[in-house]
């Protein structure tokens, strides 16, 4: 039991007619880890999660959640699992407390244990004071918090969170990210999907990058960044025709690649600290001014770009 992976995904496939939404996704999440599925819209994240929560039957492949197969032991899976859906799945005309209480019953809690747990969850999501207001009157961020709270009621071993921070204010977002870390500290395993690379970077032990239904890379943040060779990207604009300076900058030592897009010059460099002074010198020699500098340390965005040739957020 101890060494058993919490989530073990074995080559899942799912097609909706011609649309092959998930094509052979495999990964493993150890107990107590946070695993992020990172990918653009339509990558197949929700479809994967739906299969892992027994809502969709896979065309092929299998997965085991705490040892329970999604194909043959749906009830075992469901009892080990809390699911935070991408859409806010709550009854808007009921209060937060009524919602939590109803969902608690659906998870099999009753009586004083239920009442106690509802209060605990209200504390966790920080809505105890406003528990008796209708969810429909809440802000987007508060709804998101209740949406998460529901999945915590029965203290599941594994929790899925499908883009839980979409469309909310920074404060609620902070609250949610902190609570994810708190869940991990309590020993929960979290499968988290997002298309914000900052979130994946901040939270995850492991990150899987998905695109077009496939897992195109999988590893720790550092492992993934190494895929792009650790290059830093510098974007600059100047107060003249960019082509005039391009040649000079290309020949600066340490610049490995240079390109112009619109008015912006993009350079891939090994170390920005060494290169930047030379770039300014070259500009001064041609009596040009650099009007903006944007340094991008290697990150998941770059990894995605490197692997797919597209930006993560299209």
């Amino acid at each position: 039991m101890e060494n058993l992976p919490a989530i073990e995904v074995l080559s899942l496939h799912k097609a909706f007619g011609e649309n092959r939404a998930v094509q052979g996704v495999s990964f493993e999440v150890g107990q107590g880890e946070i695993f992020s599925l990172l990918g653009p819209n339509g990558a197949g994240k929700t479809t994967t999660i739906s299969m892992l929560s027994c809502l969709l039957r896979p065309d092929d492949g299998d997965a085991r959640i705490m040892g329970h197969s999604i194909r043959s032991d749906g009830n075992g899976v469901k009892s080990a699992l809390g699911v935070v859906p991408q859409d806010i799945a709550l009854y808007e005309d009921l209060t937060a407390r009524e919602n939590l209480s109803f969902w608690g019953k659906m998870y099999g809690l009753r009586g004083s244990a239920l009442k106690k747990r509802v209060d605990e969850v209200l504390d966790i999501i920080g809505l105890r004071e406003r528990a008796n207001e209708r969810v429909g009157k809440y802000s987007g961020g508060m709804k998101r918090r209740v949406n998460i709270g529901v999945a915590l009621l029965h203290k599941p071993k594994v929790i899925y969170m499908d883009e839980p921070t979409v469309g909310i204010d920074p404060q609620s977002r902070r609250n949610i990210l902190d609570s994810v870390v708190a869940l991990k500290d309590q020993g929960m395993t979290v499968l988290y999907t997002t298309h914000y690379m900052e979130e994946a970077q901040e939270l995850s032990d492991q990150i899987g990058i998905m695109d077009h239904g496939q897992m195109i890379a999988n590893g720790t943040h550092d492992e993934l960044v190494k895929l792009v060779g650790g290059q830093t990207r510098i974007d600059l604009t100047v107060n003249a025709e960019p082509q005039r300076i391009l040649g000079a900058w290309q020949s600066v030592e340490g610049v490995e690649q240079a390109s112009v897009e619109d008015e912006k010059i993009s350079l891939l460099v090994a170390d920005s600290n060494l290169v930047l002074p030379h770039l300014f010198e070259a500009a001064t020699r041609q009596s040009m001014r650099i009007t903006s500098v944007d340094i991008r340390e290697p990150n998941l965005e770059a990894v995605f770009l490197h692997l797919t040739g597209r930006a993560l957020r299209d």
Binding site: L55, L56, K78, V83, P85, A89, E92, D93, E98, M106
Partner: protein, 399 residues
């Protein structure tokens, strides 16, 4: 199992949150019952829910005239007289189902009754296998024996006291005495009371019609809860818990049933107490029809909830039964007045069976057995709708 109750309770809580809609569901039908009742009462013929019985008299004796008057006053049958029709025509009309029965008074009948002879009898044409016949027969027996009784009493009185009370007068008096049997004295002939019972006849049809009509409005509100549950994907979330699909279906079904049954109960009590529609005459029959009808319409609500893609579609899906089923089923106009063919087609609609059930009790004065067939039909429809709904739930949300 207990989750069924949890889900039903949650649904009812949601329904009651929208307090205005909730009150609307309970109060509107009461208002509409009044409006329609008086409207149809005003149209006269339409509101006549009595059984149509052909009448042809070949006798013109004053006793026969009294018989005619007794028939015309009946609450149960309404005479259709047409001097141009022959006995054969009447027979045809009975066969077609246009008439519940036909009565032919043979020449010399009045005189025979007066002489206390029984050579001549009323000729009655009827389909004795029909449910209507049972009530017509009972009414015929009641009226003829009343006529007979009056004749005998008058004969006796005349024999005792022919000076002070000539036969004619004694006969009239005795018939009148029947009109006001001692037990009914409180309901005498004050015009106010008479008016209420007049509209009562119209309402005997309208009130059950409104009950069924508004059940469909209640069904819509409940169906929308299910549609919203699917749209907000709370239903999907329910399925990620260990709650079984059949429990979800039964929970919603129970909630709609409780809503509709409450609606029914309020309207039945209101109909009985205020409108004097006599639902309590055979209480067990009324309960059976109400439960069957509520189960049937709830199952329809469940089906709409699981089949409609959007709230708008749910409204459309509910309006179809509201108009087609109600119109077809005779919730607005009694099926009797629409002719035999339409009467038969109408019974494709469960509303027709619901109307039959209620009207057998409140308008046709029939007993408990008369609601067994309508109730069975309603329960059959309930089972059909429920199965379709569950099938939709299992098919639409992939396992």
């Amino acid at each position: 199992m207990i989750r069924i109750l949890d889900i039903a309770f949650k649904d009812l809580l949601q329904l009651m949150r929208d307090f205005k809609t909730f009150m609307f569901l309970l109060l509107m039908p009461i208002l509409f019952t009044f409006l329609f009742g008086y409207a149809f009462g005003g149209f006269g013929g339409n509101s006549d829910s009595r059984l149509p019985v052909g009448y042809l008299s070949q006798d013109n004796h004053w006793v026969t005239d009294s018989l005619h008057d007794l028939f015309s006053e009946s609450d149960l049958i309404s005479l259709r007289e047409n001097v141009f029709l022959s006995p054969a025509d009447l027979e045809q009309q009975v066969a077609n189902g246009d008439l519940a029965a036909a009565i032919i008074v043979p020449h010399g009948y009045g005189r025979d009754v007066l002489k206390n002879r029984t050579d001549l009898r009323l000729i009655v044409i009827a389909d004795t296998s029909s449910t209507a016949w049972t009530s017509v027969e009972a009414e015929l027996l009641r009226i003829t024996s009343r006529l007979d009784g009056a004749v005998r009493t008058a004969t006796i009185i005349e024999r005792i006291d022919s000076e002070r009370m000539p036969f004619h007068y004694a006969f009239e008096k005795t018939l009148d005495a029947w009109n006001d049997p001692p037990i009914a004295v409180t309901e005498t002939k004050s015009p106010a009371v008479a008016k209420v019972s007049d509209s009562g006849a119209a309402l005997a049809h309208t009130a059950p019609g409104m009950i069924l009509q508004f059940a469909i409005a209640g069904l819509l509100t409940a169906a929308q809860i299910i549609v919203t549950e699917r749209k907000t994907r709370t239903l999907q979330r329910l399925l990620t818990t260990s709650t079984r699909r059949i429990d979800v279906a039964l929970g919603h079904f129970l909630a709609i049933f409780l809503l509709l049954f409450t609606q029914f109960a309020i309207l039945i009590v209101f109909g009985q107490v205020i409108l004097k529609v006599d639902y309590f005459r055979v209480p067990e029959a009324t309960v059976l029809v109400a439960v069957s009808a509520a189960l049937c319409i709830s199952a329809l609500g469940l089906l709409i909830g699981f089949a409609a893609q959007s709230e708008e579609q749910a409204i459309t899906f509910s309006l179809i039964p509201m108009f087609v089923f109600s119109g077809l089923g005779g919730a607005w106009v009694p099926l009797e007045v629409t002719g035999a063919t339409f009467h038969a087609i109408g019974h494709v609609s469960p509303v027709a069976w619901g109307m039959d059930g209620f009207e057998n009790i409140v308008a046709r004065g029939l007993g408990f057995e008369s609601v067994l067939l309508p109730s069975a039909a309603l329960l059959g429809y309930a089972l059909l709708f429920f199965s379709l709904a569950v099938w939709r739930l299992y098919a639409s949300e992939e396992k």
